[in-house]
Symmetry: C2
Subunit: 364 residues, 2 copies
Amino acid sequence: MTTTTTDRILNFSAGPATLPEPVLRQAQSDLWNIANSGIGICEHSHRGPVFDNVLKEAVADCRAVGTIPDDFEILFLQGGATLQFAMLAMNFLGEGEVANYLNTGVWTTKSIKEAKKIGNVNIAFEGSACNFDHCPADDEIHLVDDASYLHYCTNNTIYGTRFVNVPSSNAPIICDMSSDIFSRAIDWSKFDMVYAGAQKNLGPSGTVLVIIRKSMLEKCPDTLPVTLNYSAIAAKGSRLNTPPTFGIYLMGQVFKWILEEGGLQEIEARNEHKADIIYHALDSNSDFYTTFARDCCRSRMNISFKTKAPEFDALFLEESATQGMSGLKGHRDLGGLRASVYNAFPVEGCERFAEFLKTFAAAH
Amino acid sequence: MTTTTTDRILNFSAGPATLPEPVLRQAQSDLWNIANSGIGICEHSHRGPVFDNVLKEAVADCRAVGTIPDDFEILFLQGGATLQFAMLAMNFLGEGEVANYLNTGVWTTKSIKEAKKIGNVNIAFEGSACNFDHCPADDEIHLVDDASYLHYCTNNTIYGTRFVNVPSSNAPIICDMSSDIFSRAIDWSKFDMVYAGAQKNLGPSGTVLVIIRKSMLEKCPDTLPVTLNYSAIAAKGSRLNTPPTFGIYLMGQVFKWILEEGGLQEIEARNEHKADIIYHALDSNSDFYTTFARDCCRSRMNISFKTKAPEFDALFLEESATQGMSGLKGHRDLGGLRASVYNAFPVEGCERFAEFLKTFAAAH
């Protein structure tokens, strides 16, 4: 365990979440004056040469990070994943059509609620029956034929579960990757649209990354408001109207950081290692800690667990705070504790946390 | 004219636009570690105590800046004014209803196009007939009775025109104030909803301020997607889902800056003075410069003009750039030149610019 002098603490927040420190240092400088232009990043015209370059690099670096094929558009939108819940249905769930949804947690429940305002939904897996403690295998999923798409969420932030594999589907797959995008490689042959709110693995809240197969864009109805039409936004390269320039800039810096760190291969290995450190500490003290997710689908991003009694959960929060650890309270829907360790969360922080887990269990 | 040593230049961009330098200095610090929390502003949970405070102060300071009565909600949204064009119609233009629109430029043309996707629009003033060179007086406006609302835009960024007074209307008034909000006092007795993209007078792009009379919220249909329903967003105090935390933070800092500068009374007087400096330089050289807007409704935020010949416009851009002046090219729809001098643009910058206007005219 290295000790460094810093005024920053370990931030286990589920999102908005910790960002890479070199990115923050660069952003501090660029807020005042970016690229020696004499103007800060928030103050540049979204149609001027400095932001032209920021956007061009963000798209290119995103493509490089995700090894995204050329037949996918990379778009920067707004409104969070929650607006996407409605927008994807407005674009791809036509009258008389039906879409398959896998319900694996609070967020997919919301996505279903929004889609039902637009069209017909088949809930092909209902996880509430098992308290959302796992993501389904193919034989638990009951798809309807001729669906417009299958919608699911790769990683469930609250319950700490994830899909290890992509479910089978004959229909296009639209996937909410808000909490694990670019934490591991993506097999693009299996997806038609992927979206993610930025505030976990990518950047600041308020920007949404949408990666969409170009052929999907032909389906977007002209009758939609322009800002809710993927095709209209793609036609203008994310600059249909003024985009969230700082959010795109900061995401672009995070993409550069991922590439400098060695790309997704290195990041994925690191994430596996980080999660293993923490799960190992929990499993080694299984008389004291219980993890929420079934072993089959433990998340590497969000580790939801509890101690042997609620009073120890409360004490855990108190004592961890004195050790410079923040954001460990579980989501209000699940209670208990949760450690979120996205891409930018350091290995050393996981080691310190594992140490704390052991010490705390031993002491109580 | 004072000379200061700085690496920053004069930024006349129409938006995103120049921000107050003390705000940028504070943001540089808070990006790394805000309120001595050990966590940067972009990394804090939107439901944690630090952001609780940021949001609470932003709302309170906004209310103080605008002298906004308690029967108005203050909301922070996303998607720019362009999403508002659709959203306000989705909320307030029901089936079989009609709304009055004043068309005074490119942005209101877009607002009309979006509203027509939702319902019936009466164009109560069509400014294209006079090339959008002014905002109409009441006797030029032909309202239909029993309209759901009247929509207009207080300040037209491209043409450099503004409404000096609020038009008469029996229906609720919904107003796009993107380019002049908080540049002058607002008579809240006359408005039912005001909205503004942040990137001109308020903060970074990607955040929209909506100030809405509470009684309007009763009209929002439950059938709308939650993120497009003002009532649903108001019920959750702008935290229905993860809000754009950095944008809200930065707007909050701008509100504090306005209050420290003396509030809207001082800002309004300063804006009048700033615009006068530039218009005086243009009018004193009227053989060389022509302003676009009719005298009756010259904008104090955006001054659109041209020199006596296009080749001098081009030369003007070149020479002003060598003097550390940026963003003076007119909008592509109008051509010529434009100086945008929002709240944060310094008086001294207007003086330097007026000097340049005189010198350039004399030299050519």
